[in-house]
């Protein structure tokens, strides 16, 4: 019988295909490997990321759901909680025990009851409300705090970039 991780991922894929939550598309990159997913996330409405469609990839460990997957955006992102190489830094993706930034309480950490859907929804809310204490991207955090307009401009450029629209002058 296939491993429990594989069956769980298949179940989640099925669930996401049957009842896709708003603003999220996700699924395995290839049918042969269910442990690498691609996801498209739309920027939440009413925020500077509104209208953007951001591609990301999720890499699942072989002991999923006991360990959290890794998520990173494959497009350019400028956000306090996203490293410059695209890796997403939110507590739901961190296993209880390790705390890279030293500020997260363990009850927002990964646990097997979380799911891809919850991760992606958390990422959407992270896009809407950055946690500027995290400092995965210090420049972005600083800009978010001190120069919100500049941040919005950068975000708009990114949104246009993901949509393939040339940036307005």
């Amino acid at each position: 019988m296939a491993g429990s991780a594989l069956r769980r991922l298949m179940a989640e894929y099925k669930q996401l295909t049957l009842n896709p939550p708003e603003g999220i598309i996700a699924g395995p990159t290839t049918e042969e490997n269910y442990f690498e997913w691609e996801a498209l996330i739309t920027g939440p409405e009413g925020t500077c990321f509104e209208g953007g469609v951001f591609p990301a990839k999720l890499i699942f460990p072989s002991d999923y759901p006991l360990s959290p997957p890794k998520m990173s955006f494959t497009c350019d992102m400028f956000h306090p909680n996203i490293y410059s190489d695209g890796r997403v830094c939110i507590s739901i993706l961190h296993a209880p025990g390790d705390d890279p930034m030293g500020y997260e309480s363990s009850n927002e950490r990964w646990s097997p009851v979380q799911s891809v859907e919850k991760i992606l929804l958390s990422v959407i809310s992270m896009l809407a409300e950055p946690n500027d204490e995290s400092g995965a991207n210090v420049d972005a955090a600083k800009m978010w705090r001190e120069d919100r307009e500049g941040f919005n401009k950068v975000a708009e450029t990114l949104v246009r970039k993901t949509l393939g629209i040339p940036t307005s002058k």
Binding site: L6, E12, G97, P112, V113
Partner: protein, 645 residues
């Protein structure tokens, strides 16, 4: 897209590098042949010329790279991006450590030495890839026969190679004394553990893939495997460190992997111990989920998102339900409830549905529960009330939902018919109870309310020193039998008028809380330095004081009874029961009861007196004291009081 272009670019550069190297070396060879015309002299010429040798070394490296590519293709097919990423990362570390190793063996530095290290690195890469591939088995739904064949071949070849090199290193070291072969022997021995690890994992995965049902113990076996491999590695590193320090110097190059190995081993060891404890807890303490439980949560285990059956699911103290196997794997990582993160390892003495001990009185003051008037009502309430979990067979908990029934009715339904009207039974229930209560009713939970109350009362009586040695059945349920079997002439009626001392009604003490059955949550509440915790502790202390007072009162009564019996041997007033009661119809019993003599009265003042009195109350539940008898008794008491003082 960017990754593919990067990969393509990398491929381009590597191809050009290979091409350049090929061109250069062929130039060197052609040049040598052009100058020397013959094979042997041209070889000597190349060996003598440093630039030519440099180019030839380069060519050798390229050849190794190409052979690696080829064998990789043979055994692994095309590498997945994640695999090559991991490979490159590990290879960089290995190269750095090799360079560090060179510093120790700088005297031995020779082309042969470099070649051996290259071979080692080469084989290491294959071990890592084999491990990755074996792990990949768990991830893919399709495993072809060629995959099995490749893994088999690879593992056999790698193991044979490792064993050969270890043997080689051992013989060389034994023959020529310690040399760089020590490092090689150690590295290859480590690689054997890697290969063994991969092989065992492969077997486990293969068995799992071929079995039709979910293999529950696989996760446990994997953890044990990890533990033993970790142990082997840790021992090897320590031995290697000792040998190296004794023969050469501190092997800096081994520190990083050694640190990693020891840390991993420590973690695995902790996981093993903690998970064993958690799993033991789970198996012994937590109840299997019932069908009702499962229906309440739509029958899906939230860990694996699959259906649960009652036999394969466990309910945690927090009432969350998961597959036993899923919990087992999760407890290997963290010993908490996946949903609410309740710590499983905190000892929670869960008393299940059939416990006969009195329920703990839980420390949340300010909650007054009132008992239901009748057993039937209580039973029906427990049947209709869905808020009873298995751990909440607390009678008073149920009754807390039943507003409006008076506290005195609780006592009226007990056979003893005490007249503690102003006293309402104080029940404090925690929020834990409330949470527990939100689950569906446990089918085994059909204990009649009155039984629990009786038990509570027995506990009270026992603690107060009255009913010593009398079980619940003899006291309340089987009383007629007991009493009729005994010759009634010898049975005195011990005054059981605890609440009336000299005509003054005192409050009976609270039922003593059984502290053993306090749940984790409650204990934590008690430990807190908050107002609530303090109040709860104070409450317990006052309860104890109250009980001690009650015991003193009882002792006084007994001694007074004894003294009075000594004063007046023909007195029969004690035979008539002591209660002032609103129930009547006991005159005839009073008449039928013969007067008791002194010896029996003194003898039975400890235990049997209670039996008889309570048995009397079972026969004719309440005995009325005539006014005259009451006056006599009060006089006696007064007389005794003045005597004793």
């Amino acid at each position: 897209m960017s990754t593919t272009t990067a990969a393509a670019a990398a491929k381009m550069t590597s191809t050009t590098a290979v091409a350049i190297s090929l061109v250069l070396s062929s130039c060197v060879v052609a040049n040598a042949f052009r100058q020397k015309k013959q094979f042997y002299p041209s070889v000597v010429y190349i060996c003598k010329s440093n630039p030519s040798m440099a180019i030839m070394y380069m060519q050798a490296l390229v050849a190794v790279y190409l052979i690696g590519k080829l064998t990789g293709k043979l055994f692994f097919g095309s590498l997945r991006p994640a695999e090559s990423e991991r490979l490159i990362e590990k290879a960089w570390y290995a190269v750095t450590e090799t360079c560090l190793a060179f510093t120790i063996f700088k005297d031995d530095l020779s082309p042969k030495f470099v070649a051996l290290f290259t071979l080692l690195l080469f084989l290491k890469c294959f071990h890592w890839l084999a491990e990755d591939r074996v792990d990949y088995m768990e991830r893919t739904p399709v495993i072809s026969y060629i995959f099995h064949l490749r893994i088999w071949l690879l593992l056999v070849i790698l193991t044979l190679g490792d064993v050969y090199f270890v043997h080689d290193a051992y013989t060389t070291t034994m023959a020529k004394g310690p040399s760089v072969q020590l490092v090689f022997g150690f590295e290859y021995a480590l690689l054997i553990t890697l290969a063994a690890n991969a092989a065992f994992k492969y077997v486990l995965h293969a068995v799992d893939v071929h079995s039709d049902t979910f293999w529950e113990s696989k996760a446990v076996l994997l953890l044990y495997l990890e533990f033993f491999i970790g142990l082997c590695k840790a021992v090897m590193y320590v031995v290697f460190l000792i040998i190296m320090v004794r023969t050469y110097t501190i092997p800096l190059f081994a520190f990083r992997p050694m640190y990693h190995t020891l840390r991993n081993f420590k973690k695995v060891f902790q996981d093993l111990v903690l998970s064993r404890r958690a799993i033991h807890n789970m198996n012994t303490l937590y109840p299997d989920a019932t069908l009702q439980d499962l229906q309440a949560i739509e029958n899906v285990c939230i860990i694996c998102r699959e259906d649960m059956t009652a036999a394969a699911a466990k309910k945690l103290p927090c009432n969350h339900i998961f597959h036993t196997s899923c919990l087992r794997s999760w407890f290997q990582r963290h010993q908490t409830c996946p949903t609410c993160r309740l710590d499983i390892l905190r000892p929670t003495p869960l008393t299940t549905q059939n416990s006969n001990v009195p329920r703990p009185i839980t420390p949340t003051p300010g909650r007054t529960a009132q008992e239901t008037p009748s057993t039937e009502a209580a039973a029906s309430s427990s049947a209709t009330d869905n808020s009873r979990g298995p751990s909440t067979s607390n009678p008073t908990h149920v009754s807390s939902n039943q507003a409006g029934s008076s506290g005195s009715s609780y006592y009226n339904q007990t056979p003893l018919q005490y007249q503690f009207r102003p006293y309402t039974f104080q029940q404090r229930s925690t929020s834990v109870d409330e949470i527990n209560g939100n689950n569906s009713e446990n089918s085994n939970n059909g204990i009649p309310e009155s039984n629990n109350m009786n038990e509570s009362w027995i506990a009270f009586m026992n603690a107060a020193g009255i009913g010593g040695g009398i079980g619940p059945s003899s006291l309340f349920n089987d009383m007629p039998q007991t009493s009729t079997n005994l010759p009634s002439t010898n049975i005195p009626q011990i005054p059981l008028n605890l609440p009336f001392v000299g005509g003054i009604a005192i409050q009976p003490p609270n039922i003593p809380p059984n502290l053993d059955t306090l749940s984790d949550e409650e204990l934590r509440l008690m430990e807190q330095n908050t107002r609530q915790g303090c109040l709860a502790r104070i409450k317990y202390i006052t309860d104890i004081k109250c009980m001690l007072d009650a015991a003193v009162v009882m002792m006084n009564q007994y001694s007074s009874a004894c003294l009075m019996a000594g004063l007046d041997s023909t007195d029969s007033t004690f035979n008539s029961e002591t209660k002032t009661s609103d129930t009547t119809e006991n005159d005839e019993q009073l008449e039928t009861r013969p007067p008791s003599n002194i010896s029996s009265e003194t003898d039975s003042s400890t235990g049997s007196g209670v039996t008889s009195s309570s048995s009397g109350s079972e026969d004719q539940l309440i005995q009325e004291e005539t006014e005259q008898q009451r006056i006599i008794r009060l006089k006696r008491l007064e007389k005794f009081g003045s005597n004793s003082t």
